[in-house]
């Protein structure tokens, strides 16, 4: 024996955390798992159904379409926000009094509550009186986001870009500020072009923060609900019914607890899987 005393009483100290985690994560999640395998009837009667709801969801064209729209939306905003954010961060001043002005301006959209963002854009884009909608129509575009799917998509993407590009900017800017001057000086001496400086110094040094930016934007955009619901409510028709909007319709609108729970779990697993894929791909060459 090493002479250590074995004292199992320490486990009691873990108990409060265990209870806390149980109540806010494990129990709710398990409740969902429980619902996902049962059929509900009135009077709180439940019947075990196995994987029936999962099969139903995975085979339903409604789910496929919502997932497609969701993937499309996320891919679009990532393709716009990441390069745009990097570009803005690159053009922001690195020193002087304008730094804080720029940072505050950039942080502003991030501080606005999500439903307010939705409401703002809803009004802004109204075809008859909204500043954006009216201007677009006056310029000769046929724009009406409550009737045309394309207009609705455009507005939704524009709103998300407006709301969240700042996050990418702030992260990329932090990554840029961490690059020591010596790198730029060495590049000057080596005769590097502006593009080479970006490609071989700035981009590699920003890689880690950009990974965080991509992951955050991916997860958040994949779960977008509030802003989209306030702006378009999923319409016109089902044109902008993203996964979360559809989920709420099924689980709370139609009160189909079983299918709703099964869809939640599938939704959750998709996010988990895609996040893992992003992370693995982006950190791949660091392990060499």
């Amino acid at each position: 024996m090493s002479g250590k005393t074995t004292n199992q009483k320490a486990w009691w100290l873990v108990l409060p955390v265990l209870l806390f985690v149980a109540f806010n994560a494990i129990i709710p999640l398990m409740t969902v798992v429980n619902y996902s395998v049962q059929e509900t009837f009135g009077n709180n009667r439940f019947f075990f159904e196995g994987v029936k709801w999962f099969e139903e969801i995975l085979n339903s064209s409604r789910f496929h379409e919502a997932l497609q729209r969701q993937l499309m939306f996320t891919a679009t905003i990532l393709a716009i926000e990441i390069p745009l954010g990097v570009l803005i961060a690159l053009s922001m001043p690195r020193k002087g009094p304008w730094v804080s002005v720029c940072l505050v301006l950039m942080a502003m959209p991030l501080l606005i509550p999500w439903n307010v963002v939705g409401a703002m854009w809803n009004i802004l884009a109204l075809p008859d009186i909204g500043l954006l909608g009216h201007t677009l129509n006056a310029m000769g575009f046929d724009y009406n986001y409550t009737r045309q799917p394309n207009s609705a998509w455009f507005t939704l993407v524009a709103m998300d870009v407006w709301h969240w590009t700042s996050l990418v900017v702030l992260l990329a800017y932090a990554g840029l500020s961490a690059i020591p001057d010596a790198y730029y000086q060495a590049a000057k001496i080596d005769g590097a072009s502006q593009w080479a400086i970006f490609r071989y110094i700035q981009l590699p040094k920003m890689k880690r923060v950009l990974m965080i930016a991509v992951l955050l934007r991916f997860m958040d955009s994949f779960m977008i609900y509030t802003e989209a619901v306030v702006l378009t409510g999923g319409g016109p028709g089902n044109a902008t019914t993203l996964l979360s909007i559809d989920l709420v319709k099924i689980a709370l609108g139609q009160f189909d607890l079983g299918p709703g729970a099964a869809m939640s779990l599938i939704y959750f697993l998709i996010i988990l899987l895609l996040s893992w894929v992003f992370y693995t791909v982006m950190t791949k060459d660091e392990e060499q």
Partner: protein
């Protein structure tokens, strides 16, 4: 390769320098001979790096001109000056291999891949980087990365000057001497002008043929390591170089006789040159102080053993005088006197050595 001249150089980081303290480089005329090994030595914040960046073209001086040979390069960019610089912290392009790092400056200048390959391999073998050419630069140790930084400078043929900005700061102590002797070897083989910036006197004195000591934006002395040691032009040099630094004692001069606390001291200073009204000090290095039967009476305060020798701290009145004692020398026990070697005992007026013009 070229001789480098700095003329009437001044630099301020402020847009509108008003007073003397606004200037990072106060006034400076310097020249570095073609193919020489030089050091710029000074405490942190004395203007060394500023000066280096002015030579490399990363900074444009507020006033004055920079010449490479006969050519005025003041307005040229760092790339146009064809210089190399190794920074305090290793700068490598992380995502590139060692090979691509070395090839980068050549590719940027549009050299053909065949010439690039030949040149990169030549330099890699010079720096003992052959074995790691295919590795990612990010994975190398600090000294390997510093070699890449150096190599990126050397690949360009005929660089005018290679500058080192405290390049050994982040290197492990046991690798420092290796990299330092590599630099010496390169200097012998290539004969390129090198300027080595450091605050470490050992690095400066072992590397350079000529050392420029800077303090507070002014050159206090430029000379060989022996000059700096035996004839410090300024009390700052006496104090900054040497371990422990020079003893400085308040002095009076009357009728050409130098006295410290009433005791006559023979110095190397020419008698006629003592300016009137100046604050006078006697400066003598601990190496040139010895125990004697007559001279300045002192009491021994402290003896510290450095391993190689002993530093004896003695006191006369308010003044502390240090001297070095070999390991086998016997420490006197009774009342002792000190003798200063006259050829290495200097007189300083307002900090500057008597018998020379301030630079």
């Amino acid at each position: 390769m070229a001789r480098i001249d700095l003329r009437n150089l001044r630099h301020s980081y402020r847009a509108n320098p008003q007073q003397e303290s606004d200037w990072a480089i106060k006034r400076l005329d310097l020249s570095w001979a073609e193919g020489s090994a030089n050091a710029l030595l000074g405490p942190s914040g004395c203007g060394k790096t500023t000066l280096l960046n002015i030579v490399s073209g990363l900074l444009r001086p507020t006033e004055g001109t920079v010449f490479f040979g006969e050519r005025d390069v003041t307005a040229l960019s760092a790339a146009e000056r064809n210089i190399a610089q190794v920074f305090q912290f290793p700068v490598v392009y992380d995502t590139m291999s060692v090979y691509d790092n070395l090839a980068f400056p050549l590719r940027n200048r549009g050299m053909s891949e065949r010439d690039v390959d030949a040149r990169v391999r030549e330099i890699a073998s010079l720096l003992d980087l052959d074995a790691t050419l295919g590795d990612r630069a990010a994975g190398l140790t600090a000294d390997g990365k510093q070699k890449i930084s150096l190599g990126r400078g050397l690949v360009r043929s005929d660089v005018n000057v290679i500058m080192f900005d405290e390049p050994l700061t982040v290197i492990d102590p046991h690798l420092k001497w290796r990299l330092r002797s590599k630099l010496k070897e390169l200097h012998r083989r290539l004969g390129t002008t090198m300027i080595y910036v450091t605050h470490d006197q050992t690095e400066a004195l072992t590397f350079a043929d000529q050392v420029v000591v800077i303090n507070d934006g002014v050159v206090v002395q430029a000379g060989s390591p022996v000059d700096l040691f035996e004839r410090p032009q300024h009390t700052f040099v006496g104090h900054f170089i040497g371990s422990p630094g020079m003893n400085l004692l308040p002095a009076t001069v009357e009728n050409g006789i130098v006295r410290f606390a009433g005791h006559v001291i023979a110095t190397a200073a020419p008698q006629a040159a003592v300016p009137s009204g100046a604050r006078l000090e006697i400066g003598v290095r601990p190496e040139f102080v010895s125990f004697a039967d007559t001279g300045v009476p002192v009491e021994i305060v402290k003896v510290s053993d450095t391993g190689r020798n002993r530093i004896v701290e003695t006191r006369h009145g308010q003044s502390t005088i240090r001297l070095l004692l070999d390991e086998d020398e016997v420490l006197p026990t009774e009342s002792v006197c000190l003798r200063f070697d006259p050829s290495y005992t200097q007189l300083y007026a307002d900090g500057w050595r008597v018998g020379t013009e301030p630079t």
